[in-house]
């Protein structure tokens, strides 16, 4: 991704830019197609976080997720003239990102790697920006639950995992997920149900969790 590109280059830089939400994605896309690179950079600012989260939850590795996001923006920039606006720009980005994640997993021929699986250093569990109201106990419990969820999700087939991620963390509709996955709407619902069932079973098996312990059936 670095160095030898004759065309555009996506590079990490530290800028003071903030996301300008007064302009729609569609307007920024139109300006980008007309040659305004700054407009495309605005789109990157808007979507790099969600795309990183999607790639991280799919792959389980920060470095891989970062590379995928970089590659996805590069591909999107190059393919932008061919973007007809039939789908939302964000859906288009999600599709590119998911395809790249699939490529990474296929190349590595491995299940997603879940970070900090065992022997977690307790100091690492405390984020520097943790909410002040959250006690140390809460932080530890939350991080512990996060680790259990990540492990349970890593057990799912790729289609179920991506369906849950897109629905649970990105708020896509069933229809949007069906279009992204190229399957009927009913298949999306089945994947969601089967995936949630596996996650529930794994969480129960690991004896986790504060939230549903009392409401969950034995």
């Amino acid at each position: 991704m670095r160095g030898g590109h004759a065309g555009p280059l996506v590079r990490q830089e530290t800028h003071g830019d903030r996301v300008d939400m007064t302009v729609t994605d569609e307007e920024l896309v139109a300006r980008s197609i007309a040659g305004d690179t700054d407009s495309f950079n605005q789109l990157i600012l808007r979507w790099e976080g969600p795309m990183y989260a999607l790639a991280y939850r799919q792959l389980g590795r920060e470095d891989d997720a970062r590379d995928v996001v970089q590659d996805a923006f590069l591909r999107a920039f190059r393919a932008l003239p061919g973007f007809k606006g039939e789908a939302k720009f964000s859906s288009w980005l999600y599709r590119i990102t998911l395809n790249l994640c699939r490529d990474v997993m296929r190349r590595a021929k491995r299940a997603p790697f879940v970070q900090t699986p065992e022997g977690v250093d307790i100091a690492d569990l405390v984020p520097s920006d943790a909410p002040a109201a959250e006690s140390m106990e809460d932080v530890v419990a939350r991080k512990d639950l996060s680790r259990h969820v990540a492990r349970a999700m890593s057990l799912l087939p790729e289609e179920q995992r991506s369906a849950i991620i897109l629905k649970e963390y990105h708020g896509l509709t069933f229809q949007e997920i069906a279009e992204l996955q190229g399957c009927p709407l009913s298949t999306v619902k089945t994947r969601l149900y089967q995936g949630l069932t596996v996650v529930r079973r794994e969480l129960d098996r690991q004896g986790r969790g504060p939230a549903g312990a009392e409401s969950r059936t034995p």
């Binding site: 990157i44 790099e48 990183y52 997720a65 923006f73 996060s146 509709t173 069933f174 619902k189 059936t217």
Partner: protein, 249 residues
């Protein structure tokens, strides 16, 4: 699923809620899945700074030589040499200087086997010094043999002190000058392209080096900043452990 994710219509929702009031099993299942969703909210990706940017404009127009930009410099040199060599071979250019003066031949004037006997040792000696010359000569001879059958009438241009026909010599001079001019123009063009490619390559490397240096500097800055944060975190953790141990006592 529609009920769980609140995607159905209001009527569907009301109907399903009515069913849940009557069916304990479905109600328990719905509550359980809702609890899983609450748990899943705890799964967050690690904090990171991305700030990706498109930092270079796309190429506005593809030049005639644009495809060469993807080749390394050594490959461009090799390609240029090959083109010149093949062009010379195809044109049947043959330059000799001997007792008859300077002789420049173009076209396929002689079959492969009709070379003077004196050429062979010279070629062999040259081949011993430079193997590629022998290979080039062999390639040329092969091409000459294949093309000779379909070639037009041979052209021999003799530029010597004993030239018999003055008008013919004049035409030969013009032709020779034209060939030289073409070769020089080709060489100058190749040199210009090579210089351009080298300049671009050096510029790209310099840009990349600067970016890498800046990234390294940024990384060091982040590390320095984190050192203090880690210390504070460790202090907080120690306090927490102390509180827990005191509570247990």
């Amino acid at each position: 699923m529609s009920y769980l994710y609140e995607e159905g219509t209001a009527a569907e929702r009301l109907a399903f809620e009515a069913h849940l009031r009557q069916c304990e099993r479905c109600a328990a299942e719905a509550a359980s899945l809702r609890a899983v969703r609450v748990d899943m909210a705890a799964w967050t990706p690690p904090e990171t700074v991305l700030d990706f940017r498109i930092v270079r404009e796309p190429a506005q127009a593809t030049s005639r030589w644009g495809w060469m930009s993807t080749m390394p410099a050594w490959a461009q040199l090799a390609a240029a040499s090959l083109v010149i060599g093949v062009a010379a071979g195809l044109s049947g250019l043959d330059v000799q200087y001997g007792s008859d003066g300077l002789i420049v031949r173009t076209g396929w004037s002689r079959p492969a086997g009709a070379r003077p006997a004196g050429d062979a040792p010279a070629a062999a000696a040259a081949g011993a010094d430079h193997p590629w010359r022998a290979e080039m000569a062999a390639l040329r001879e092969q091409l000459l043999g294949e093309i000779n059958q379909a070639a037009s009438a041979p052209q021999a241009v003799r530029v010597s002190a004993g030239a018999a026909d003055g008008g013919e010599a004049s035409v030969d001079d013009e032709f020779l000058a034209r060939v030289k001019q073409l070769i020089e123009a080709s060489e100058a063009r190749t040199q210009r392209e090579m210089a351009l490619r080298l300049t671009e390559m050096v510029r790209d490397m310099d840009t990349q080096r600067r970016a890498d240096m800046r990234r390294v500097a940024d990384g060091l800055g982040v590390l320095e900043g984190r050192t203090g944060a880690v210390t504070a975190q460790q202090r907080e953790v120690m306090n927490y452990l102390m509180r827990v141990s005191q509570r247990q006592q």
